[in-house]
């Protein structure tokens, strides 16, 4: 039985609690929030006996093996340090930290304590991403990627987040170094970071405020971002974040020496880009081959749904399972620390450039 605690009982905590309770051999031993009512309500709904307002008390009374930190990133370093000092492994909700310096401090402390860390980049563990990784491992690309394109859209039509952020001039997201972008782009950036090497990527970033936000006089928030990222081996990547592109797209395109792939998170498809054919056949055969692949992806998705393996937060559940496995079996962590740090560094560089633009 793995003993798990959750710190931070806001909007994200429910998703973590649902997934933890669905994994056999896990027990939520306590919730903690500085607002007692918030800790109490989630403890009642998930039938957990203990709830706390003081993290030290939570750690002392419940002795969790793993703590999920689902607070805003401003508190991650302090809370993560307390958890690690108390001997708990930690899963942080994204974004990991405020900057790469804080990320380094957490990772270093985890190393010193021989404990494990991960971050909630759950999209990296959805079915399509897992299939992509499997293909690449088998050498489908014909070597490391030449170029990557990650596009991540967020639709302001979703009132949950939009209303909370745009309706509150003191919302915690506004005080992040990268403001709204900081809270959202790590999913899309981490997809690129997975394939980059080295520790000092070169980043060129450009951001602006969309006309939508200008119309409602939200000049303080940048919601459109374009970035070019290069690593020490000249692997290049484009990153696009947009709130205005419709329909919203969450896609990664990976271009290799031999083959290329298109991974779509929203549709959960992995498409192998067909080879070119001679003459007019190039207009006839590749579309058919792509159509066949889309059909096959659809059938696979339906099959997974019928086998109860296609729930909304499947990526999060897989990430949590892999993290717990790494804790219990001393197996490698699901997200390499280098990738976490590189994601953080790319984000630092982007936000620094956007700040200078302002």
């Amino acid at each position: 039985m793995i003993r798990v605690a959750i710190v931070g009982c806001g909007r994200q905590a429910d998703q973590h609690a649902i997934e933890i309770q669905s994994i056999p051999g896990c027990q939520i031993v306590g919730f903690c929030d500085k607002e007692e009512l918030m800790a109490k309500q989630i403890a009642e709904r998930f039938d957990v006996k203990h709830y706390f307002v003081d993290i030290n008390e939570l750690l002392y009374v419940t002795s969790p093996q793993v703590v999920h930190v689902t607070t805003p990133p401003q508190s991650h370093l302090a809370l993560g340090t307390l958890c690690l000092e108390a001997g708990a492994n930690v899963l942080f909700e994204k974004p990991f930290t405020l900057n790469s310096s804080e990320a380094e401090q957490i990772l270093q402390l985890a190393g010193e304590k021989n404990l494990k860390i991960t971050v909630g980049h759950n999209v990296q563990f959805c079915h399509a991403a897992m299939k992509m990784r499997e293909l690449i491992k088998k050498g489908y690309l014909g070597g490391p990627p030449i170029h990557l394109e990650s596009i991540w859209c967020y639709n302001f039509a979703d009132p949950g987040y939009t209303k909370a952020l745009l309706g509150d001039s003191d919302h915690w997201v506004r005080s992040l170094p990268g403001k709204m972008l900081h809270n959202i782009v790590s999913h899309g950036i981490s997809k690129i970071a997975e394939f980059l090497t080295g520790t000092s990527p070169h980043v060129i970033a450009y951001g602006y405020t969309s006309n939508f936000l200008k119309r409602i006089e939200e000049y303080d928030i940048l919601d459109e971002l374009r970035a070019i990222i290069t690593d020490q081996n000249d692997t290049t990547a484009y990153f696009t974040f947009s709130t205005q592109i419709n329909p919203a797209i969450h896609q990664l395109r990976i271009y290799g020496q031999k083959n290329s792939l298109v991974v779509d998170d929203l549709h959960q498809t992995v498409i192998r880009v067909p080879q070119n054919y001679k003459s007019y056949l190039n207009h006839f055969i590749p579309p058919l081959l792509e159509a066949k692949q889309f059909l096959s992806n659809s059938a696979t998705n339906i099959g997974k749904f019928l086998r109860n393996d296609f729930y909304f937060e499947q990526g999060r559940r897989t990430l949590i399972e892999l993290f717990y496995h790494s804790v219990l079996q001393q197996a490698p962590v699901p997200i390499p620390y280098g990738e976490i740090l590189l994601t953080s560094k790319i984000m630092d560089s982007i936000f620094e450039q956007l700040r200078l633009q302002e």
Partner: protein
């Protein structure tokens, strides 16, 4: 219009939270119409104040806006200072339990705490909702009144809004018991009128791309915005009703079928599919079971508790509020529906 039967004088300070909302702005209007001249309207800094500004533009000396966030205790203290009567309409309407709980319960707790040292408070009017009633363990065709059972397992209904409202009511009762906070709870039915863009969920839902008509022959517990606002205002003003709960529903309620027919004929025609209650109940049962069996592959948004609460054949009584508060819906149903349909036709409905 100030009556001797009112709890406070015309210049007593009244706080209205959620005062820029659909109902809140009309409550402000109703209080001004009754002759009250010292209103404090609490709004969030980023609130859209278009409607409220229109209402208070001719009464700028009688109404003062105070900007803040009820999650901030200091803002609550500023809002609560010196008030005799509170109309608490601010509420969480998010899709998440945590969000609704935070915006309904934590905010209410902060406001109640701020009022504890206030020696002037005569009444705290908590605007709840008819959705808090479970409607379970009762026969069909019964009449729902204030004695109806409040949902005992609010989380199981998987409706964050109802959960937040139930917990908010519970908190108020706790503060009354512990600290003697004088209160009245108002539970409006489905509030409609110009400014409201959606058809009541008790008529049906459009979750699956086609409008499923679920209400059938059921009366729909409608309350027209102006009637509802006046009911809330009177529940705050009338003497001798502390500790009471009042449901607010108009007279001569249309059936779901009748409402839908009128809507289609007066606003726009659209396709709908009638699903009888027993069939939808079975669907909810199967969905609920599948959700559990599949470990949440589909969240249990359709479940028997929700089905019973919203779509079981139920009558509604407004006798208590009429008798004890002296409220009568001033805008008759025909006129109210005409105004609503006209508004929907003019602005374009969003179904």
């Amino acid at each position: 219009m100030i009556s001797n039967d009112f709890l406070i004088s015309s210049n007593a300070l009244i706080l209205i939270t959620g005062s820029n909302g659909f109902i809140g702005s009309r409550v402000v209007q109703a209080l001004l119409d009754y002759g009250f001249s010292n209103l404090r309207c609490f709004v969030r800094p980023s609130s859209n104040l278009k409607t409220l500004n229109r209402i208070i533009s001719d009464n700028s000396k009688k109404v003062r806006l105070i900007k803040g966030n009820l999650l901030c205790r200091e803002d609550c203290e500023k809002a609560a200072k010196g008030v005799s009567l509170v109309f608490h309409l601010a509420a969480g309407i998010e899709k998440t339990f945590a969000g609704c709980f935070m915006d309904s319960v934590v905010t209410t707790r902060n406001l109640l705490d701020a009022l504890l040292d206030n020696g002037l408070l005569k009444r705290f009017v908590n605007v709840s909702s008819l959705t808090v009633y479970s409607n379970t363990n009762t026969s069909t065709n019964r009449v729902l009144d204030e004695t109806g059972e409040v949902e005992r397992q609010p989380a199981a209904r998987h409706e964050p809004y109802a959960y937040g409202k139930i917990k908010q009511d519970e908190l108020l009762l706790e503060y009354n018991k512990k600290f003697g906070i004088p209160y009245v709870i108002v539970r409006p039915g489905d509030v409609y009128g110009p400014g409201k863009m959606k058809i009541s969920g008790k008529v049906g839902i459009d979750t699956f791309g086609i409008f499923l008509h679920l209400g059938g022959p059921n009366p729909i517990p409608l309350t027209y915005i102006d009637n509802c606002a006046e009911a809330i205002a009177l529940c705050g003003l009338r003497k001798g009703i502390n500790g009471q709960v009042f449901n607010t529903i108009d007279d001569e309620l249309p059936t779901s079928r009748g409402f839908l027919k009128m809507y289609k004929s007066h606003v726009r025609p659209f396709k709908s599919l009638y699903v009888p209650y027993p069939l939808f109940y079975c669907f909810c049962f199967l969905w609920e079971k599948y959700s559990g069996w599949s470990k949440g592959q589909l969240p249990p948004i359709f479940n028997r508790k929700r089905c019973v609460a919203h779509w079981k054949h139920t009558g509604y009584s407004n006798q208590k509020i009429k008798k004890m508060v002296g409220w009568h819906p001033r805008v008759p149903i025909d006129q109210a529906l005409t105004r609503y349909f006209e508004y929907m036709r003019r602005t374009g409905d969003q179904q």
